[in-house]
Structure formats: structure tokens, C-alpha cells
């Protein structure tokens, strides 16, 4: 799975060399960001149900979407937020890529699911992250970068 460390090791293995100083620098750089990432992951884990409910209300209150899809939409938003929690922990987009994004276009197209609801929900969550009420600036940056990544993948 793609994370900060495994990316380095994959490159070293492809070249058949031992980890060298620039590899160590890359690993160190990812560990330097780890505290912020883990703070974001921890806050998200603690508030995931509230964040989901909040985003869901914002999306469905306009009456643009069929209310019968509400539960399924909640489940999916929760699912993506959980994958973002994982990405924050590993420091790479591996969990989202492998478990959330691979094949997602095909699934949505086949089932006729409008992705705009999800995009609205994640954009709403992105706009609602408040520094320093929710988390530190750096943690919020890491979290928002991953929300953007999901939004891009769904657009």
C-alpha cells in the first residue's frame, strides 16, 4: 500500500539498492509531518459521525436530491471520511486509491448515482473546518488536501 515509507522502499527495490541518505531524508520528512497528520486523524475519528450528519443536512436541505437516498449517501460519506482518516495515518493516498477510488467511476456510472451530492458534501466539510477550533493549521491543511483529492477523483 502506498505510504510515505513504502514509496521510498519500492523505488529503492526497483533500483536494487539499499536505502540511502536521500531515502532517509524522504522518510524523515514524512515523519516530521506525522504529528499534524495524526492530530487530524484523531479529531476526524472522534467527530466522524457529527461531520457526516452535518454535511448530510447541508446537502439534503435544499431538496435537490431524493430523500430516499439519504441513508446511502450518509453511509458513503462516512466511508470516504474513514478512508481519509486512514490516509492521514499512512501519510499517502494509498487507502483512498485502493479502497475508495479504483473503479468508483464505473460503479457510479452503472448505478446512475449523481456524484454531485458527494462533491457538495465534501466541499461543505472542507469549508467548515475551523482553525484552531477543530484542529491546528497544519493538521487542517493535511485534511483539506485529502478532501480535495476525493473531490477531484469524484468530479
Amino acid at each position: 500500500m502506498k505510504s510515505a515509507v513504502t514509496t521510498v522502499i519500492t523505488a529503492a527495490d526497483a533500483a536494487g539498492r539499499f536505502p540511502n541518505l536521500s531515502d532517509f531524508e524522504a522518510v524523515k520528512a514524512s515523519f516530521a509531518r506525522a504529528a499534524a497528520r495524526m492530530q487530524a486523524a484523531e479529531k476526524l475519528a472522534a467527530g466522524i459521525d457529527n461531520v457526516t450528519a452535518d454535511a448530510l443536512n447541508a446537502v439534503y436541505k435544499g431538496g435537490k436530491y431524493d430523500q430516499t437516498t439519504r441513508d446511502k449517501c450518509a453511509r458513503d460519506i462516512h466511508h470516504y471520511l474513514r478512508l481519509i482518516n486512514y490516509c492521514l495515518v499512512v501519510g499517502g493516498t494509498g487507502p483512498l486509491d485502493e479502497w475508495g477510488i479504483a473503479g468508483i467511476r464505473e460503479v457510479f456510472r452503472t448505478l446512475g448515482i449523481p456524484t454531485t451530492a458527494y462533491i457538495e458534501a465534501f466541499a461543505y466539510i472542507r469549508s467548515r473546518v475551523c482553525v484552531p477550533r477543530d484542529m491546528d493549521q497544519q493538521a487542517a491543511d493535511e485534511f483539506k488536501a485529502l478532501l480535495d483529492y476525493v473531490i477531484n477523483a469524484l468530479s
Binding site: 515509507v5 513504502t6 522502499i9 527495490d13 539499499f18 536505502p19 486523524a41 484523531e42 499512512v90
Partner: protein, 181 residues
Amino acid sequence: MLDAFSRAVVSADAKGVCLGSAELAALRRHVADANIRIDATNAISQNISCIAADAVSGMVCENAGMTQPGGNCYPTRRMAACLRDGEIILRYVSYALLAGDPSVLDDRCLNGLKETYLALGVPIKSAVRAVTIMKAATVAIITDTNSGPSAFKDVSGKGSDCKGIAAEAASYFDRVISSLS
């Protein structure tokens, strides 16, 4: 391939839950010890031939018939293959140590290694002996208790800081040994 972080993520995903404070506490300790881990991996990277080539030489010295006609390290082509294998195993151990998880060693090195050695007629006992010497040398270099050049020259107390990580490195060599035997 997994590292300590993705290992935690995979087990959380199996349960369908987020990683909360409890799981993150263990990972935060991992982050706090990152420099020790990097120093230990660096100690291996800087002593490759001291660990790998010497281990294979040591194995041959204990069994001098190996380099004679009819021995498993005769002719030099086979000795070269043996030296190369020692280095490859050490390389995957160094990856596992850096990642903090043995999956890279299992997936990319040990999977099928025993079968390959049996098919090629490599004596498993001697291979295990070479890995055992590599393990001892690696632990000595990481903890700075070796008699040769110091990995942490002029840095006081560095070797003793690395005792815990040396035990982890030893466990990866044990993994190689148990998968071969």
C-alpha cells in the same frame, strides 16, 4: 507492501472503524523513535559488505570443502551467486527495518526462497548459517558492540539507544531462518 502505519490501517479496515486515539498512541511512539530506526537502517546500509560478504566468507571458512571442486561454492560463479544472495537478503531486512513491518521481506524475498534453494541444490543448512552470522553482525553494528569500525563514531550513547531496534532487526533475520528451515 505494508509499513507500521498501513498495517494499522489494514487491521482497522477489516473492522470498518476509524483509527482513534488508542491506535494512534502506538503509532505516535513509532514516530517518536523514527530517528533511532533511521540510524539503525543507516548502520546496515553503511556496512553492507562487512555484514553480508563476511557472513558468507565465515560460512565458507567453517566448511572449507565448499570452495573445493565438488563443493557448493565451486566454481567462482556459484560463490558469486552466494555472495549476491547474502546481500539481497540483507537488503530486504533493511527495508523491513525501515518500514517497521516484515511484509516487504515476506512478499519480495522469502516467498518461494526455500523452494528455489531446494530446486537449485543450495544447502539450506549453510544458508541458515550465513544468515545467522549476518544477524549477529547486524546486531553488533546497530548496538555498536562490534570490534570493527563503529557505525556511530564520535556519537556517544547512540549504540545503546538502538538496543530495542536491534532486537527488531534480529527478529527479521529469525524470520528468514525459520522460513528457510
